[in-house]
Every structure is written in structure tokens, then in C-alpha cells.
Symmetry: C2
């Protein structure tokens, strides 16, 4: 057993329990060891359990174990070594087989992930993250400290999520036109887990999804072996309802998953008219709606556009997250369910993670309760507005003819569409050489041949000077490609 170093391991023996008389004697131990020895299960030279271990385990007297070991020594199966315990005897080595290694399993090997670099000097032009200098890291730390002042940490987790957090989320949703009960709020590890729980719970294993799609959502459906029905989305022209109807009608998916505000990667927000049409379509063709609303509170106005859940009522499953806007490292989102889905989603969460860290949920509750979140959002929105306008102004001044971009009005990204004759892969490589990183490759987002020819631009991640420098370099390389 040469794989082991200190401390010295010992065999675990199988001591057969006593019969009906229930009292374990030394002879039971001897018989058990003999049986294992005869079966070739005790590699020579390995250590038997220390006397105190068997004594403790079996709840018997020390001298019962000692007399059993003495008997085994007398029978020639084991030997005592001074101060080191009892060992299986060496001269029986030939009867023992060497331990064979375990067999390797076959795993689904995923395609290589995008080589997103962590080089801090890179300008990430395509990030969906918000500059972490804009995130309330100190205020959150205060809330953690406040929660930690209570004696000791909360010992248990909650499957559904910390009740006060679910209560305050429900109240906040009601203020935004979505009647919600705390019992329908299920806390998740970001909206990613929320989407995963929905996918795990749907009876029919097929879902309609935007094309281009949020890459990790698309990948999740793939890994979950759900059939996907891609529906083309054009951030300049919106959706073509007739095409959507035809494809949904042909495939009859269980649900349509859509990001109603600031869709990733296009930055598109659905018009109220489109949402109303989709509700009608859902009635006509009998599919459910799963709304990912990660972005609407990145819009810098106190008024709001009604989410799909507000328009379509409680059958719309509604997902949201605090992580992007508040702090990615918190990993907290939620799904707003309904009576028909709640128990299935809870059961899916139960088998996936049992529950998430209670302290984080309690600290987020404190952050919301104190009103920090609203204050934070106002400041964040104002700064994002500034960056958005700087981005639009820079694009207008540096981009050549033939380049177009969307004006999402909020959220962290917009879509930049380039002339078809530009080679996107080569453009990405040339920019990387200049330390500018574009977003993921088209295959991450699109199904089949992309109907768009461009990339996602993130203006929330970069300080304005870095954004301008990145766009300058991008425009320079685009001009070079167009030459």
C-alpha cells in the first residue's frame, strides 16, 4: 500500500454483527478477520484497526479486542509490531492480488470554451458585466457585518430561500406592477439556476429560444438535451411574428424563453406591442412563457415598461437576478413561480443544490431593507446613462459608413452590425494583438448561419476613456478591413 504516507492508514474490517444473542465476543472478531483473510481481502503488510478503534466502534471492552488479536497472532494471520500495532503477515503475500486502479468513465466532452483572457490590461469591449467600481461593495460589506452581529451564524439553509428576502422581493415586484406572493418566490444561484430549474422541470423537453440567444442559456438547454426551436431576432427590425408563429406551430415547444429587456447578445428590448402579440400567440398555439427580466431595472427612469409577467399574468414564469447589477460574486437571483410550477421547481432545486448560502441571502435582505438597493440603482443608472451617451457619440464620430448600431436606451450592451465583407474572426485576432477583446464567437449565440454580422458592445464595463480607446482601435481595424 505504498500510495500512503503519514498518518498511517489502517484497514477497515467487516466485523459481522452478533446473532440474536446480540453480545459480540472475541470469537466474532476472529471469525470475521479469518473470513476476509481467506477471501484475499487483507493485503499483506497492512495495518489492522488499532485496538481502541475497534473497541470504540463496537462499544465493547478493550480486552475483548486484545484477546481477538492475540488469537489471530496465534493462528498466524497477523503479527504485532512493537508500538506500531498489528499487521497482516508478510509471508502470505502470494495469496493477495494487487489493488487495481479504478476504471475511467466516459464524460460528455464539451467543445473548448472561449478563451476569455483575464489579462487585466485588455480592453473588454464585449463584456456584459458592469464596471465593479460602480458596484456597492462597501455597503454590502456593511450589511454582511450587520448580519454577523447576531450571535453566531444561521445554522440552516432554506430550500426555498430566506423568508424575509422572499417577502421583500414580493413587495418590490408588486410596486412594479407584478402582484407576487413570497410563497411563489424561489431564490436561486443567479438567474442561471432559475433557468436551469425551469428546464429540469418542464414535462415536454423542448423550448423555443431567441436566435441569437444568451450563450450559457443555449448551452444549458443543449446539455439538458432539450430540443430548441430558434426564432430569429433582429435588434434593428424586431421580430417577425409570422415566422415565429410558423416555427412554433411546426415544433410545438413547451415554452418560449425570452429576455424581454436588453436581450443578450443583441441588447434588444421587446415593444409592448410585441409582447401582447406573443401572449396571443401563446394562447393560440398553447405554449408557456418564461421571461428573463435581468435588465429592466438598469433603465434610468422611475417609470417603467410593463414586463410580460405584468401583461400576461401569473402563468408567465418570471426570472430576475441581483448579481450583475449588485455584485456578481453574490450569485443571487430568483424565479417567480405560480401554483402549478412551484412544487416542481422546488423539487428541482432540492436535487440540484438543496439550498444556497443563508448568510448571503440574509445580507441581501438587509441591503434591500435599508433602501440601499434603490439608492444604488439610481446612481448606477445615472453613470450608465453617461457611458451610454459617450458610447453613442464615439460610435458616431469614429465608425465608417456601413457600420450600424442599436440604441437600446439602457442595459449594459448594444449591437454593432458590420458590413458583410468584414472577416469577424480576423478582426477579433487583430484587435487582440492590440489588447482589445471582442465578445464571444457567433457560434456561441447563433443557430446555423448567423443572420447578423456583428458583435455585442458593452459600455457598462469600461471607464469612458478605455471605452473610447477601444472603439477607436476597433474603428481603425474595421477601416483597414474595408480598404
Amino acid at each position: 500500500m505504498k500510495h500512503f504516507t503519514t498518518p498511517s492508514p489502517y484497514l477497515r474490517l467487516r466485523i459481522d454483527q452478533a446473532g440474536p444473542e446480540r453480545k459480540l465476543t472475541a470469537l466474532h472478531i476472529v471469525a470475521s478477520v479469518e473470513r476476509e483473510y481467506a477471501a484475499g481481502l487483507l493485503p499483506a503488510g497492512t495495518r489492522l484497526p488499532p485496538v481502541r478503534v475497534l473497541q470504540h466502534q463496537l462499544g465493547i471492552a478493550k480486552n475483548t479486542v486484545e484477546s481477538a488479536y492475540e488469537e489471530l497472532v496465534a493462528r498466524g494471520l497477523i503479527e504485532g509490531r512493537s508500538r506500531r500495532g498489528y499487521f497482516v503477515r508478510q509471508d502470505h503475500r502470494q495469496r493477495l492480488k494487487p489493488v487495481k486502479p479504478a476504471v475511467s468513465m466516459l464524460f460528455e466532452v464539451p467543445p473548448p470554451r472561449s478563451a476569455a483572457s483575464h489579462d487585466r490590461d485588455l480592453i473588454h469591449l464585449g463584456s456584459t458585466f458592469i464596471d465593479h467600481e460602480l458596484l456597492p461593495r462597501e455597503r454590502l460589506a456593511q450589511c454582511f457585518r450587520a448580519v454577523l452581529k447576531a450571535p453566531g451564524l444561521p445554522a440552516h439553509y432554506s430550500l426555498q430561500g430566506h423568508a424575509p428576502l422572499r417577502e421583500i422581493i414580493a413587495r418590490r415586484l408588486a410596486k412594479r406592477g407584478i402582484p407576487a406572493k413570497a410563497e411563489d418566490v424561489i431564490i436561486t444561484a443567479g438567474s442561471q439556476q432559475a433557468l436551469d430549474l425551469v428546464a429540469r422541470s418542464l414535462r415536454k423537453r423542448s423550448v423555443a429560444i431567441e436566435n441569437p440567444a444568451y450563450g450559457i442559456g443555449k448551452r444549458m438547454f443543449e446539455i439538458s438535451q432539450m430540443q430548441m426551436v430558434p426564432l430569429p431576432l433582429d435588434p434593428f427590425d424586431g421580430i417577425d411574428l409570422e415566422t415565429w408563429r410558423r416555427r412554433i406551430d411546426a415544433a410545438r415547444p413547451a415554452a418560449l424563453y425570452l429576455t424581454t429587456n436588453f436581450q443578450n447578445p443583441t441588447g434588444y428590448s421587446y415593444s409592448t406591442g410585441e409582447l401582447v402579440h406573443l401572449l396571443e400567440l401563446s394562447q393560440e398555439l398553447g405554449f408557456g412563457l418564461v421571461e428573463d427580466d435581468w435588465g429592466s431595472d438598469m433603465l434610468s427612469y422611475s417609470d417603467f415598461r410593463p414586463p410580460l409577467r405584468a401583461l400576461g399574468g401569473k402563468n408567465v414564469l418570471y426570472l430576475n437576478s441581483f448579481t450583475k447589477k449588485l455584485l456578481p460574486s453574490l450569485r443571487i437571483g430568483y424565479v417567480l413561480a405560480n401554483e402549478a410550477s412551484r412544487s416542481a421547481l422546488l423539487e428541482a432545486k432540492h436535487v440540484a443544490t438543496l439550498g444556497n448560502a443563508t448568510l448571503v441571502e440574509a445580507a441581501l435582505f438587509e441591503f434591500l431593507r435599508r433602501g440601499y438597493y434603490d439608492t444604488h440603482l439610481r446612481a448606477l443608472q445615472s453613470e450608465l446613462d453617461t457611458r451610454y451617451h459617450a458610447c453613442l457619440a464615439t460610435l458616431a464620430s469614429v465608425m465608417p459608413e456601413g457600420v450600424r448600431w442599436t440604441t437600446p436606451g439602457g442595459g449594459p450592451t448594444l449591437w454593432l452590425e458590420l458590413p458583410r465583407r468584414i472577416d469577424l474572426a480576423r478582426l477579433g485576432e487583430r484587435l487582440l494583438a492590440k489588447k482589445v477583446l471582442l465578445a464571444a464567437t457567433p457560434s456561441t449565440w447563433f443557430f446555423g448561419e448567423p443572420h447578423l454580422h456583428g458583435t455585442r458592445l458593452g459600455y457598462a464595463f469600461l471607464p469612458i476613456s478605455a471605452l473610447q480607446r477601444g472603439l477607436d482601435l476597433l474603428a481603425h481595424e474595421i477601416r483597414r478591413e474595408l480598404r
Copy 2:
């Protein structure tokens, strides 16, 4: 749109982007609104986006938006209301369809979950949890405070898990005879997520599993639609290798999932001889091994029995967790992978939760780094020993003839086997009336007709006086059933 209260929501319009000339004029806005109006997409009486909203979104001048709205007023489509903005005109109501509610989706409805009561007066005789009075809640709070002293919180999460935590886990594993590299450690939300990631990643959708099995693991495989090959485990007699070989040979599962120490619900630990045989069987029949080692560090001796991963090498996937022993609310476990599985498991984690809360991972690292964990384990083991022996002594003194129990020697539970003529369901009901709660029903653990007739007893959760009282009441009801 009567569902909304304050603040007043507004429509999101789809403003068609300008053509090649790229400059958006008032006429583009007018044409876009007219198009949506004609399509019946603008419900009468609803509010248009405030001027400043469109101005901001489109990055254009305020008077461009104003002149567009004035033109729409002139064309009779909208009307201005003093200080309240622009609204779609009422007298076109008849052209508009009411919004239809979304369609309800079909979810897999799970069977009712066990009615685990949160009544604090109940004596939970079957809990696998450790009394939270024995958990280092204040020491952990200190570690959180220490991490929070760094300016601000960590902003980002790590897909694989906080690197220093992975490093220290690898070093600790090496000390226990398991060579490990930090790059093979993947942090998870408890060992539950670790098991879920393995299940998601296996190419062949079938797995062999102990019968009786850890209930939430069994449920996870069911929900994941994996075929299960149940293998009988008897905590008194161990495993019958011939039966296991025959069943595995017939079904050829991808892997065998087993809990090598203190199996839930039986409390059984595999002997080294059995583990060696299983390694041989894995070679012979070509299946992989997934070892759940949640319990071995609940054994109160500095020496140790080699885990399967130590005996069988790196092809054994090894799962462990800190939550039960340290604090359930932390939800931190890990899987020790290998080259063949790492990328698949990471990809599975990526789509499941993206990552887990960084602060919790950093605080756990601090806890391990300071040596608190080893100190805690020593104190915990000593207290569990005391409770274990109190449990054995009480059982021996109160249980009637015909009742048997196992002597696991560590871990939080043992198996109590009762005479067949006792009606377990009725026994559970009678005890509940006396405020004693037994563990889950047999169907949670067993496949088909149970070959055992008993229940899991937890001696780690209850103070000794409560444990003794619970066992007294249990023995009383058993005697009554036997009469």
C-alpha cells in the same frame, strides 16, 4: 391596463432604426408609432414613453421627439394630457384586442415531499444533521469578518471556485493519502451539487446505486432521467459481491455511486476488502466509481481508513462536503475530478449555477488556513463519541429482544432493525403523537420491497437527554406493537 398601480407604466415602442443615412428624424418616430397603431398593438388609454425617455434612448434632441408627438396628436392617434404625458386615444378602443393571459405550462409534478416538521419541540430521532450547538458558528463569523476587512467585497465569482480554497483542500487531501491538485478540485454547493454535476456529465445515462440509497441522490437521478441499478446493501452483513456483479453485468451502468463511510441511511462503512473487490469488479465489468466521502472525518481517530480514491487512484471521482460538519447554511462541498472529467464537470457547473458565492468560499478558506477546522473536528468527534456511546448504552438498556442495531463507530447515524411484524407507518404515527419524529418513509430510500425493516437513528443531532427520552418512547411503542 387596470393591473397597474403607481408608478405609471408606459408602452415600449419599437422605433425603427434609420436607414443607411443613419440619422433618426421625427418622421421615423411618427412612422413607427403609426405602424404599431395600425397593427392594433397600442392599447387605448396607455401612456407613450415620456419625451425624455425616447430622447435618452435614441440619443437624439428633445425637440425631435416633441415634434414627432405633436405630429401624432395632429394625426389623431394620441393625445396630450396636462402634466401626465401622451396617451393613445380612447376613441380607438374598439380596434384593440384585450390582452390575453399567458398559457400555463405542464410541469413534472413530484410526489409529495416528506412532511418534515419544523416544530421545535419535536425530537428528531432520524436526523442526519449535527446538533448546531456543536457547530463553530462564532469562529466562522470571525472568518467572515476577517474577509470583510479587505476593502470592499470580491466582485467576481470563480466558475471552478476560489483558488486559495482549492489549494488548501488539495493539500489536506494529500495528507489523508489522496494525491490531489488544486486544478482538479471543483467547489460545489454541497456534495449534492457535486453529485448532480457528475450525473449531468456522464455520457451513458445509467448508474448503479446502493439500495437503500441516500434519498435526495436517488431522487436526483430519477429527475435526471438516469436509469438506476439498485444494489442491495445490508448494514449487518455488508454487500453480497456475487449479487452486485450479476446485476452490474446485466445492466452495464456507466458508474457505481457509493457512500464509502457512514452511508445514508444505513450508517454502513465499507471494509477495505470490499473496496478492493469493487475496484476489481470495476476493471472486470468496465464501470466507473463515484465515491461520496461525506463522513470519514467524523471518525474520532487521527489515523484513517483509506478511501476508495486512495486505493483506486484518480479515476475514482471523489465527493466531499463541509456543510454537515461545519455549518449546513454554508452550502460548500467539492468534487475531486481528473483530467478526463474536469472540463465536462466544469461545463456542467457553468450551465447550472455559473459559480457560487465568493465570500463564503473566501471565509471557508480563512477558517481552514487558521487551523480552526481541525480543532473543531477534534472537539466534534469527541462529543459525537460521547453521544454514540450514550446511544448504544441506551439502546442496550431499553430495547426489547428482536431489535438490532449497527455499530458504525462514527458518523451521525446508525441503523435500527425491527421485527417484521411491527407496522412501521403506525409506529411513526404513534410516535409523532408523542412528539417524536422518525426518519423518512422507506420509499425514500428503497427500490421495491425493502429487504430491511427499520429506520435510521441519528445520535449527533440531539443532546443526550433528548436522545434518551426519544429512545425510551420509541422502545415503549415498539413493545406495544409487539404485544
